[in-house]
Symmetry: C2
Amino acid sequence: MKKLINDPRDVVDESVEGFGLAHADLVTVSRDPLFVSRASGAVSGRVGIVSGGGSGHEPLHAGFVGYGMLSAAVPGPVLTSPTPDPILAATKAVDGGVGVLHIVKNYTGDVLNFETAADLADADGITVASVIIDDDVAVKDSLYTAGRRGVAGTVVVEKAAGAAAERGDDLEAVAEIARRANAATRSMGVALSAGIVPHVGEPGFTLSDDEIEIGIGIHGEPGRERIPLEPADKIVERLMTPILDDLEVASGDRVLLFVNGMGGTPSLEQYIVYRHAAAILADRGVEVTRSLVGSLVTSLEMQGVSITVTRLDDELLALWDAPVETAALRWGR
Amino acid sequence: MKKLINDPRDVVDESVEGFGLAHADLVTVSRDPLFVSRASGAVSGRVGIVSGGGSGHEPLHAGFVGYGMLSAAVPGPVLTSPTPDPILAATKAVDGGVGVLHIVKNYTGDVLNFETAADLADADGITVASVIIDDDVAVKDSLYTAGRRGVAGTVVVEKAAGAAAERGDDLEAVAEIARRANAATRSMGVALSAGIVPHVGEPGFTLSDDEIEIGIGIHGEPGRERIPLEPADKIVERLMTPILDDLEVASGDRVLLFVNGMGGTPSLEQYIVYRHAAAILADRGVEVTRSLVGSLVTSLEMQGVSITVTRLDDELLALWDAPVETAALRWGR
């Protein structure tokens, strides 16, 4: 295992500490329990938004804490859900008196721990609404998950909900926006190599020299199939067809096209993937109204990409375009 | 070789095409000769800024084309300088009548080809000034280079020069800002693994399972030494000490600290590196006034990082903070 780390047990604490130092203008880091929240603190009368999950997917979620997106992020151990305690602490820290939305990727551990934290918050007089993200069309009911998994589409949901909270929507309205953004979003990924969990020291799975895995999960959990390496355009077709079929994308639709690097795949390749995904949409008469390309929902140093498509209506488009100021996404400010 | 590509000969064209499609609001792609320029075109009375070099370092340089930074970028073949033709075409395309600055990383091929293009532009009545970037303290006179190499500090120079051009500085003033930013900047990198040039198909060099290379170049050219893998904090010390000694950083100085991922190293590790680099600066009484963390000057899928430190004065700080709107850096707009 070759990584730029110190003691494998300190990876998350040290990385979050570095993140807090680098972005002290945007965020504050609570060390114990561990969570990252906006430097500006809770805003009275504004819905707070908390997300979180296992570490190793950076910049998700801490990279999206800031104006117009998350109020706080709760990083768990690597590829492991945070416990209810830090989720509860983050929820309390961002409560502006009008409730808090939990945005939870659909993995059993995350769902349970966010539920427990929501119950505890409720007992403390904080109203919590929860939205489960399940954008991954690759498989239903997999390792760690009942139903579909939540993957890179989480970025779209966090952006839409954050913009809704910022414009003053109430808790139910912000939650409804998040549900609608999730319902309009589909994703699927491919791995060329596996990430290595630091305290394990071995790859999460093994692919032979000419093998790839279609439909990989962001924890390295199994996808649809392992096949020989193919040209990028063929791989892109294998991802786009299930996405577009499932989303029932039709000619005339407007979409956000998001190509996400898995951590070990450089920008050069991400844009080759983007190129053909855009061509497939053009062939179907679909307008790519907004684009996003970057390594935003990673799986440690995994080589691979995922593609996310969100069908945009006027409101989701306006929420996407609204100002955002976070470490990983920033525009309009 | 496992990459998300089609024909290895088409990698650059297809990636740049994808980049142009994804960022059509910011850039226009000229296919033949190949260069990327601002969608808004040349601005009359404003100094144009052109950079470029071999591909494989994305988002450098095309990711920095846009308001407040580059006017155009010229991508060569992978890890190979562009020829004078596209450099000349880009120079003509961005000339606003008051001259064009070439920002050139110090590699023999780049220097020669940009010089030739400058001579040809001059014959066409366009005044060109050139600034050579040589921020890498690792080695002097290496493969491809007489003198020091230009690496991630290029981002700082392009940002400072772009902001100077945007505020209306004349050609000589913009060139002077670029030279001053370069003189205030030092970098050094480390590789854990090598990138693979697509049409070669084999790694540019080989490191054993527990070996790293200190002072690596962004083309995989040799650094200072190969040593066994160490904890991140020790590696960071090996990079920071030569940087700070060479820059003669003193207590009370204000700096920009930039941790750059080499393409295959995820955000999680980059912030662990940032954390200790910041601690070393704090120990020396140096104020980290601005921070940047991300994979901005890569070497294909190389695993590793570089660290860049720029000593800031009031003017360089103001130029850094000035609005920028490019695919890879965006704030204030």
